[in-house]
Amino acid sequence: MPSIHPRQPTIATAPKPNSALATDRALLALGGDPAFIADLLGDLSEEYTYRAAHDGVYAARLWYVREMVRSTPHLVWNAIRHGTPSARARLAASILAVVATFSVLTVAWLTRNGPPASLVVGGGIYSDGIVVNNLGPVQLSMSVLDARGHRLERTDVRYQRVSGVPIPVSTRGVIKCTRPGDAIVRASLAALHRDFVIHCQPVRTIRDAGWGNFVVGDPAATLTVDAIGLDGQPVTRIAARLRVVDSTVATLDASGRLRPLRPGETWIDIEIGDRRAGAFVTVYEPVRTFEGLRPDQRLVVAPIRLTRGASIRWPLPTGVFFLTFSADSSEVPPTRGFVGLGSGSSPTVQSPVNMSVAGLIMCTRMPEPQPGVLGAYCLARAPGATLILTYSGPGGPNEIVGSLALERQDQH
């Protein structure tokens, strides 16, 4: 607590009359009680004089400002109580201006950018460097951060190759991976330096992903993409950009795992380096049979389990649709059911299943893309059409497990 010497000062250092008058006027304009303002400013002036004499002018000024700040709520309250409506409006506008100014200054201070403090590598999927799968020239991406982690817009970062495979690197950071291998590149900005690895893995071509059929409720599956390098061998380090065209049907997480969400079809754009490819994904709804299918159930799949000599008869909807039976391998649990066309997990059982139809329906047998898969393209003109699946093959297992998919092309 400050203590004040009671004796009179020998030096008169009262605030200048003009500035004191200006403070009086300002406070009076904001609607304060004149007596209250005169008392308050008079006490501040008197004590300022004592403090300037005993503690010095600088300390007295600091005290004066501190006391004004401490007294501000009381001045405001006094102005609210004693001010006229117009004075209160001026006071509100003044407070708003102070608060707005303080807020703007605070935000500006918090978001201000400092000098460059670090260079951060970006653009690849590996933390120790940048993966480049392009055959053509690529602009390196290097982020410049200040000490507080703010990203700075700097274009004057310079690059040079330090060691590793001899690839062309321009000072502006344009590189061209003419051969596979790792190169050490140094980025420089004033006194800042950062060495990082360029993993050159140019991709000549992308083989389409061999999977595309999913069932709602299945766990997420990893998207496997075969990228082939200049030497004809698969490329092991890939920085791929994947995008699901209709993300209501399926989504891709950060690790490239695809999660089926609802029945439907969508396309996945795959971009690796300067090569592009795509994968068509169909998501089916799991059903127990085809009996009682609603018109909106366009893509359904049902598990099939047939013992030798047995057959099933299922009603079929009207309209145009594909029917596909896929036999699972004996190792695959029956609950996994459906194995898709062109799937990486190919059925190992040569299908001994016979598929036939009855009623006002016409079907065309589709080419068998894989062993164990039966396909048909059908047109059922009237209700009452039936599918008959029979397992009669001699020499096969006692029981065959698989799945039957129905894909409607239109609706009647």
Binding site: A20, A35, G42, L44, E46, R70, H74
Partner: protein, 111 residues
């Protein structure tokens, strides 16, 4: 004056005015409060309290001649009114009443 309407700062301020008599003006009252309570009240807080006590009729005030040391402003001297004196007596009685019977155990034992 019911004691319930006097806050702690109001009571200590009234006592300071009573103690300082003719020298009871803002700066002197602040010094007295600081010396006795150990708290550094702001000038604004003190004058808000003094004004409230005056509004309650417990204090009256008069202005001195303008003083150069106050930037040409006058000092405002405060005086206890009869109601203020009664409020202090009432507060003293009230304090004695609520402290009655518990003085001894709380007093520190001297070694």
């Amino acid at each position: 004056m019911p004691i319930a309407t006097l806050g702690a700062l109001e009571l200590t301020t009234l006592l300071a005015v009573a103690r300082l008599k003719d020298e009871a003006y803002g700066l002197a009252i602040r010094r007295d409060l600081a010396a006795r309570t150990g708290r550094d009240y702001s000038v604004g807080a003190l004058y808000t309290t003094l004004q409230r006590l005056e509004d309650k009729g417990l204090l009256t005030s008069r202005h001195s001649e303008p003083l150069p040391i106050r930037g040409g402003r006058s000092r405002r001297h405060f005086t206890l009114t009869g109601a203020g004196a009664r409020a202090l007596r009432e507060a003293e009685r009230h304090a004695a009443s609520i402290w009655a019977g518990i003085g001894k155990p709380l007093r520190p034992r001297l070694a």
